[in-house]
Amino acid sequence: MLVRSLVIAAVIACLSALSSNTVMAQLAEQRLPVALEERAQKLFVELRCVVCQNQSIAESDADVARDLRTIVREQIASGKSDQDVVDFLVTRYGEFILLKPVLGWHTIVLWVSPVFLLLVGGWLIFRAGTSQAKRVGATLSQAEEQELAAILSKQKER
C-alpha cells in the first residue's frame, strides 16, 4: 500500500517534471526562458510581499507582489546575479523584504543560536555524565563501612 502510493507519487512527479514545477506561475505575466525563470522563482520564495501579512511574493496576488515579480524578472533578464537583485531590492525596500535574513553582525545571534544551543546541550549532557560517573565511583565512608559490616555479620549469625 505504502510502496504503491510512493510509486504513484513518483510517477506523478515524473509526468509533471516537464511542465512548470511547484512554484507559482502567474497568468498574464511575462515569463523568462526556463533557466532564468527557475532562478526568479527561487528568489520569489525568499522575498516578502511588503504589504501582505507574512506572505512571499511567490504566494501573493497583491499588486505590489506582481510589481516585485516583474522587477526581479527584469533584473535577471538584464544579466544581473541573484545577489545583485537582492541587493537592489534591499536598498529600495530595506532588509524587511528578505524572508531569509542576511548573515551579519545584527543577525549573528539569530543564525548562530541553534548551533550554539545544541553545543551547550551536548556539553551539559557530557558534564552530567562525568558527574554521574563520579557518583558511581563514590565509596562508603568509614562509619558506613562499619555499619555495613555489622549488618552483614548479624545476618551471618542468623
Binding site: 505504502l2 510502496v3 502510493s5 510512493l6 510509486v7 504513484i8 507519487a9 513518483a10 510517477v11 506523478i12 512527479a13 515524473c14 509526468l15 509533471s16 517534471a17 511542465s19 512548470s20 514545477n21 511547484t22 512554484v23 507559482m24 506561475a25 502567474q26 497568468l27 498574464a28 520564495v45 525568499e46 516578502r48 501579512q53 507574512n54 512571499s56 504566494e59 496576488d61 530595506g94 532588509e95 524587511f96 523584504i97 528578505l98 524572508l99 531569509k100 535574513p101 545584527h106 543577525t107 545571534v109 539569530l110 543560536s113 541553534p114 544551543l117 545544541l118 546541550g121 551536548g122 549532557i125 555524565g129 554521574q132 557518583r135 558511581v136
Partner: protein
C-alpha cells in the same frame, strides 16, 4: 438581564479564586486538613460560575443582543446560527473568557479526579491554579470585559468572514484545552518546588495531564493547519507564521516533557529537567497567549491590538514565568539526583530526544521574537520567514528522526546498540528500497526528496519493530501472533503509533513540498486545462446569495482518462458588512492526494482565472497528526495510568488501627 447575570457570575468566580489562592496554601503550611479541603469545593464552584458566565455570553450571541458591545462588534443577525454561537470565542474578550473557563475546568478536574493525590500536593496544585485564574479574571474584568453594554444598535458589524467556518469554530477550543492543559503540569511543578519534594510518583500523576493536554494541542494545531490550507486559498499548510509558532512551541517542549517524565517515572532520573520543562511548556503557552492577544506581531491571526491589554498580559507573563524560574533556582539544587544510566540506553536516547526538541523549540522561539526585539531596539524592521525556519528547524529534526526508532528498543540503564541495530535491519532495507524507487522514478527530480521519503519510511517501519517482534510475526503461527498483538501492553502500541504518526506526517510533508504541481489558466466556458493526468473543464459560473454574503460559484468538471469524476465548485464570496472577499477552494481527494482548485478571478465576459494544484500525499500530513492523537488516547486509556498508584493505603490503615 442574562448579560448582567453573566457579569455577576464572573465577579463571583474572581472572588472565589482569590480565596482559593490563599486558604489551601495556608492550610498546607499549618497542616490543617479543613483549610486544604476548601480548594476542592471552590474549584468546582468557580468552574460552575464561569460556565454560567460563558453560557450567558453565548446566549447574548445566540439572540443577537446588540446592546452588548462585544456582540455588536462581532456578530450579525443574518449570520448562520452555528457561527453566531461560535462567534462567542471568535473575538478577543470571548476567547479570553473561554481561556479562563478551561483553566477552571482543569482545576475542577483535579479536584474531582485527584482523590488519590497526597492532600498537600493537591491543595498546593489547586492554589497555584487559582493564582492563574485570579490574574486572568482580573485581566478580563479590567481590560477585556465582554459584558459591557451600549445603546442598542440595530445591526452588528459581523464576524470576520474568514472566521465563519466550521474548522475555525472548533480550532480555538481545541488549542486552548491544549495550551491551558499544561497549566496543570505547571501547577504540579510549582507545588513540588514549594514542598521541596519530588519523586517518581509525581511523574506518574503528572503524565496523564500532560498527555491529555498534548493530545488536544496536537488536534488544535492540526486543525489550524488544515483550516489555513483550505480557507486561506493558496494551499499552504504551514507558514511559520508567528501565531502558528506560538502554538507549535509548547507542543515541542510538551513532547519533550512527555518523554522526560517517562524517564522520571520509570527510572527516577531527570527530575530537575522535567520540572523545568513543565515550567517552560506552560510559560510558552502564556507567551503564545501574549503574542496573539497583545497584537505585538502583525500576522493573519492577530485580531486584537490594544497596548493596555498587551502590557497587562506581559506583566502576568513576567510574574508567572519569572516567579516560577526564581523558585526553581532556589529549590532545584535540593532535589535529589535519581537513577544512573549509560549513554547508550533508553534514558540516553530520551535525553537526546529532549536536547534536539528543546533546541528546535529555542530556535523557533528566537526566530519568532527576533524581529520584534530587533525592531524595539533599532526601530528598523527585518523579517524572519519560512526560509530561515526550514534551514534551521529541518536539520535539527533529521538526527531526531534517524535516532527515533532505536529509542524504544534500547533497554533501560544500559542498552545493546548492536542487537538493536540488528532488529532494525528490516526498517533500513525498506528505507533504502523506498529511496531508490523514488529516486529512479523521479529522475531528473530533486535529489533530497527521495532521501526524505526514505527517512520517513525508516521511521514508519522502525516504529513498529517492537510490536512486530513481540508478536513474533515471523516466528509463530498467525493465530498466535494475533493473540499476542492483542495482548501487548497499551504503552507499546501507543509508542509505536505515535512515532509512526510522525513518520506519516513527514512523508506527506516531503511529498507535497517536492512533488506538488500547479497551473494557472484563463478559461472561457467549456474550455479545458490539464494538470498531471487530470483535465478540468470549465462549465460556466453563476452567482448566489448566502445569508450574509454574495458569491460567484464556478463549476468545473474533472476528467481522468476521458472519464468524468464529477463536478467541483470553488467560489469567491463577498461579505458586505465587513467589505471583505474570501475564497472557497474546491478540494477533491484521490487516495491520500488532493486536487485543489481555487477561483482567482471572474470576468464580466463569463471567463474565469482558475488556479489548480496537484498535492501528492498531502492528506498524510494531517493523518499523521491523527495517529499521534490516537496514540495519546491509547496511552491515556492505559489502566496503569488511569488508576494511578495501586490501592493499598486502606488495608494498611485498618491493620494499624486494629494493632493500636
Amino acid at each position: 438581564m442574562t448579560v448582567e447575570l453573566g457579569h455577576l457570575a464572573l465577579i463571583l468566580a474572581l472572588s472565589l479564586a482569590m480565596v482559593q489562592s490563599v486558604l489551601p496554601i495556608v492550610g498546607s503550611k499549618v497542616n490543617s486538613e479543613k483549610l486544604m479541603a476548601t480548594a476542592g469545593s471552590t474549584s468546582i464552584a468557580i468552574f460552575l460560575f464561569l460556565s454560567l458566565s460563558f453560557a450567558c455570553l453565548m446566549w447574548a450571541y445566540a439572540t443577537s443582543d446588540f446592546s452588548v458591545v462585544n456582540v455588536w462588534q462581532n456578530s450579525h443577525s443574518q449570520m448562520p446560527f452555528l457561527y453566531k454561537l461560535t462567534g462567542t470565542w471568535g473575538n478577543h474578550e470571548g476567547s479570553m473568557l473561554l481561556w479562563v473557563l478551561i483553566l477552571a475546568l482543569f482545576a475542577a478536574a483535579v479536584a474531582v479526579f485527584g482523590d488519590r493525590l497526597p492532600v498537600q500536593l493537591k491543595a498546593n496544585v489547586l492554589a497555584v491554579q487559582a493564582w492563574m485564574m485570579t490574574t486572568f479574571l482580573l485581566f478580563i474584568l479590567l481590560t477585556s470585559n465582554p459584558f459591557l453594554r451600549q445603546a442598542p444598535a440595530i445591526e452588528g458589524q459581523d464576524l470576520n468572514p474568514i472566521l465563519q467556518d466550521v474548522g475555525l469554530a472548533i480550532h480555538p477550543p481545541l488549542l486552548y484545552v491544549g495550551y491551558v492543559g499544561f497549566s496543570i503540569t505547571f501547577a504540579f511543578a510549582i507545588a513540588a518546588l514549594i514542598e521541596g519534594r519530588i519523586d517518581a510518583a509525581w511523574a506518574r500523576w503528572v503524565r496523564p495531564w500532560a498527555m491529555a493536554a498534548w493530545v488536544f494541542l496536537t488536534a488544535g494545531i492540526a486543525m489550524g493547519s488544515y483550516w489555513a490550507y483550505y480557507e486561506l486559498g493558496w494551499g499552504g499548510w504551514w507558514f511559520w507564521d508567528p501565531v502558528e509558532n506560538a502554538s507549535f512551541l509548547p507542543w515541542l517542549t510538551g513532547t519533550a516533557l512527555l518523554h522526560s517524565a517517562l524517564v522520571m517515572e520509570k527510572r527516577d532520573a531527570l527530575k530537575i529537567w522535567t520540572i523545568l520543562l513543565a515550567i517552560v511548556t506552560f510559560s510558552l503557552s502564556l507567551l503564545g497567549t501574549f503574542l496573539v492577544r497583545s497584537g505585538v506581531l502583525t500576522s493573519v491571526h492577530t485580531f486584537a491590538s490594544d497596548p493596555a491589554r498587551g502590557l497587562f498580559i506581559l506583566l502576568i507573563l513576567c510574574a508567572f514565568v519569572g516567579g516560577a524560574l526564581f523558585l526553581f533556582a532556589l529549590r532545584s539544587s535540593k532535589l535529589e539526583h535519581g537513577g544512573l544510566f549509560a549513554p547508550i540506553s533508553r534514558e540516553g536516547a530520551l535525553v537526546l530526544n529532549n536536547v534536539l526538541l528543546t533546541t528546535a523549540a529555542a530556535t523557533v522561539l528566537i526566530g519568532t521574537l527576533y524581529p520584534v526585539i530587533y525592531e524595539a531596539i533599532t526601530t528598523e524592521k527585518i523579517s524572519v520567514g519560512p526560509p530561515f525556519f526550514n534551514l534551521t528547524f529541518g536539520p535539527l529534526m533529521i538526527p531526531l528522526v534517524m535516532v527515533l526508532p532505536f529509542g524504544p528498543l534500547l533497554a533501560w540503564k544500559r542498552g545493546d546498540l548492536a542487537g538493536v541495530s540488528q532488529r532494525l535491519l528490516f526498517a533500513v532495507a525498506c528505507a533504502v528500497l523506498a529511496t531508490i524507487l523514488v529516486f529512479g522514478f523521479t529522475r531528473p527530480g530533486p535529489w533530497l526528496a527521495p532521501l526524505g521519503i526514505g527517512l520517513a519510511v525508516w521511521l514508519l517501519v522502525g516504529s513498529f519493530a517492537e510490536v512486530w517482534q513481540r508478536a513474533g510475526i515471523t516466528k509463530s503461527t498467525w493465530r498466535n501472533s494475533v493473540h499476542r498483538l492483542l495482548g501487548l501492553k497499551r504503552s507499546i502500541w501507543s509508542t509505536a503509533l505515535g512515532h509512526a504518526g510522525v513518520g506519516v506526517t513527514m512523508l506527506g510533508i516531503v511529498a507535497v513540498t517536492a512533488y506538488e504541481t500547479e497551473t494557472v489558466a484563463l478559461l472561457s466556458s467549456q474550455e479545458t486545462t490539464e494538470i498531471n493526468e487530470f483535465s478540468v473543464r470549465f462549465n460556466g459560473y453563476r452567482t448566489a446569495t448566502g445569508p450574509n454574503f454574495n458569491e460567484d460559484i464556478a463549476d468545473f468538471e474533472v476528467f481522468r482518462d476521458g472519464a468524468s469524476l464529477g463536478t467541483v465548485s470553488p467560489s469567491r464570496r463577498f461579505y458586505p458588512a465587513r467589505q471583505m472577499p474570501t475564497s472557497e477552494a474546491a478540494i477533491e481527494t484521490f487516495g491520500f492526494s488532493q486536487l485543489y482548485i481555487t477561483l482567482a478571478e471572474t470576468r464580466p465576459n463569463g471567463s474565469v482565472v482558475v488556479r489548480i494544484w496537484w498535492k501528492p500525499l498531502v492528506v498524510l500530513i494531517w493523518l499523521g497528526c491523527v495517529l499521534m492523537m490516537v496514540a495519546g488516547a491509547i496511552s491515556l486509556s492505559d489502566r496503569r495510568l488511569r488508576i494511578g498508584l495501586p490501592k493499598q493505603a486502606q488495608p494498611v490503615k485498618a491493620e494499624a488501627a486494629s494493632a493500636g
